[in-house]
């Protein structure tokens, strides 16, 4: 099968959905002429024109809010917030408008929009450009949350997100845009709420998503040498969360390690751990372990940045602890 980059997979997903449905539009800072800060909208402006691919001012709140207004009146906007760190400015619109409208209006409206944004550390660009704030989104009833780890998943999940009638926050890791992977040329979608077992195993379950999935995979490969067989699960969508796949795996392995780049306190991993405890306490042979980002503003200096986010060795250590 042909291989394309993560960012080209995103471009293709938007391209195909814009061709399929005239109501799909793209807006955000530098998405048109520049093609997106990380190139994830490259070529869309040339192909679909300025009516449907719109550069905006630096107005995050209005970008999110205008997407909502367009969505409840018949369009299917894809709004881009350049870095998730700037989502703070769009949070009021997302949390108080997008997330709540359908419920508060008695189920009489839908908000079919995607807010694409980029997150994570790894480029030494410090505390305002390196955060993993997905836990904030997962916390709020009414929002869906998607965080793909491969080009294949990125394309199929973005297409599903665009076709979904709910507000979806779609977070892309900045270190994944250049990653290549197999992506079929035919039209396909990956439904929201379906986890993927990226590696089968029998001794321990590792749940990891976005860039940390790859860290977990590297750790799992190394653990094989020590005869520890890890099953690696990528939830792919954190909301809806495919808890069944995780529980089925834990039933087999009896041990669970969860990896996330976000701050450890109130991390997505904390929620997953609690859900597994609530629904599968008896399946566990050892306490669940979290491997998360440090509770510190992500520092710029390469040595500090590295120390602030999980690495392969952290995952290996956690696995060995639960497997003792």
């Amino acid at each position: 099968m042909r291989e394309i980059t993560f960012k080209d997979a995103l471009v293709e997903a938007m391209q195909e959905e814009m061709k399929r449905d005239d109501n799909v539009l793209v807006m955000g800072e530098d998405v048109a002429i520049y093609g997106g800060a990380y190139g994830a909208t490259k070529g869309l402006y040339e192909q679909f024109g300025e009516e449907r691919v719109r550069d905006t001012a630096i107005s995050e709140s209005a970008i999110a809010g205008a997407a909502i207004g367009a969505a409840i009146t018949g369009m299917r906007p894809i709004a881009e917030i350049m870095y998730i760190d700037f989502i703070t400015q769009a949070m009021d619109q997302l949390v108080n408008q997008a997330a709540k409208m359908r419920y508060m209006f008695g189920g009489k409206t839908t908000v079919p929009m995607v807010l694409r944004t980029e997150g994570g550390a790894g480029r030494c660009i410090a505390a305002h450009h390196s955060q993993s704030l997905e836990a904030w989104i997962m916390h709020v009833p009414g929002l869906y949350l998607v965080m793909p780890s491969t080009p294949y998943d990125a394309k199929g999940l973005l297409k599903a997100s665009i076709r979904d009638d709910n507000p979806v926050v779609f977070i892309e890791h900045k270190m994944l845009y250049g990653m290549k992977g197999e992506v079929p040329e035919k039209d396909y979608i990956i439904p929201l709420g379906v986890a993927d077992i990226k590696k089968e195993g029998s001794d321990v379950t590792i749940v990891a998503y976005s860039r940390q999935l790859h860290v977990a995979m590297e750790a799992a490969a190394e653990l094989e040498k020590d005869n520890i067989s890890a099953e690696v699960i990528d939830p792919r969508t954190l909301k809806p969360l495919d808890l069944d796949t995780i529980l089925t795996s834990v039933k087999k392995t009896s041990k669970l390690v969860i990896v996330s780049e976000g701050y450890k306190t109130c991390n997505v991993a904390s929620e997953i751990a609690m859900l597994v405890t609530e629904h599968g306490f008896d399946l566990l042979d050892a306490p669940i372990k979290r491997v998360c980002g440090a509770d510190v503003p992500v520092p710029m200096s390469p040595v500090l940045e590295d120390a602030a986010i999980p690495n392969k060795q952290n995952v290996i250590n956690a696995v060995k602890e639960v497997c003792q």
């Binding site: 550069d55 630096i58 480029r123 660009i125 410090a126 305002h128 040595v303 120390a307």
Partner: protein
Amino acid sequence: MKESKEELSGYLRRMMDIRLFEEKVMELLAKNIIKGASHLYAGEEAVAVGACSAIEEDDYITSTHRGHGHCLAKGGKLPEMMAELCGKATGYCKGRGGSMHIADVTKGNLGATGIVASNLPVAVGAALSAKMRKTNQVVLCFFGDGASNNGIFHESLNMAAVWRLPVVFVCENNLYGMSVAAKRCSAVQDMADKAKGYDIPSMICDGMDILDVKETIKKAVERAREGDGPTLVECKTYRYFGHSRSDPRAYRTKEEEKEWRNKCPIKQFSKKLIDNKILTEEEIAQIEKQSEEAVESAEKFAIESPYPDVKELMDDIYAPSPADLLNGGAIR
């Protein structure tokens, strides 16, 4: 010119320091000695140096993501800046912040920020503080044309106007916010017009002419000190490099770039000083050489400095609380 020869050559030196510093940063970015992002100030030197020469040492500034020029103009030091950009322990912020977070609070530089427009309300708060503490200090608040489209800009101007605070809003209009031309994303082209809605006076100056910037800001600073409230000063300027290192600059023409290169604030000012017989060409060359040497030695300092100790990763997140306010303190 009413300034002394010493003052005028000081301005020239500062502008050259900024230019040569930024060119060096560009070089070190290409070599990956500086990692991460750096937004360079080259082309806009007259704004920071002109504006900061119109205030006193104990006045405040707030900076932006394009903050190297502001820091140097407010009396910042080249070695500490360069070390910070390289993520070294000897940098202004112990290497934690890099280019977008430089602060030098001892010099009244309340800091850069990676979030566009986010320092406008901070400047308003600093001005409120100066007013309430009756210190007669003013705040110069730098921000870009792009920032003036953000909601916080409007909230900040309104609050400063209502409370008649001693803040000068300095808009560095370089025609673009990243790739998006002001023409394509701002309803008005003179950002100064945006002051009207808040009954704040505004002025426009030539951001490539240091003395024009200085005189204009000076008037605004005087108003602020008199207790007459905020002013918006728009400086028309241009950034010479791309927005960041990976920017192919497809959104602007080579002709436009050339036109603005011809207005180079350093060349213009040098010519003015020669024409007015204040400095000779040799003296100017001498100043440039001093700048070059200073930048070289800053580079050396930065490269030879150690990285921060990883053991310090979790330091300084919180200020130490007085013992009795913490769990386990005297008060239960």
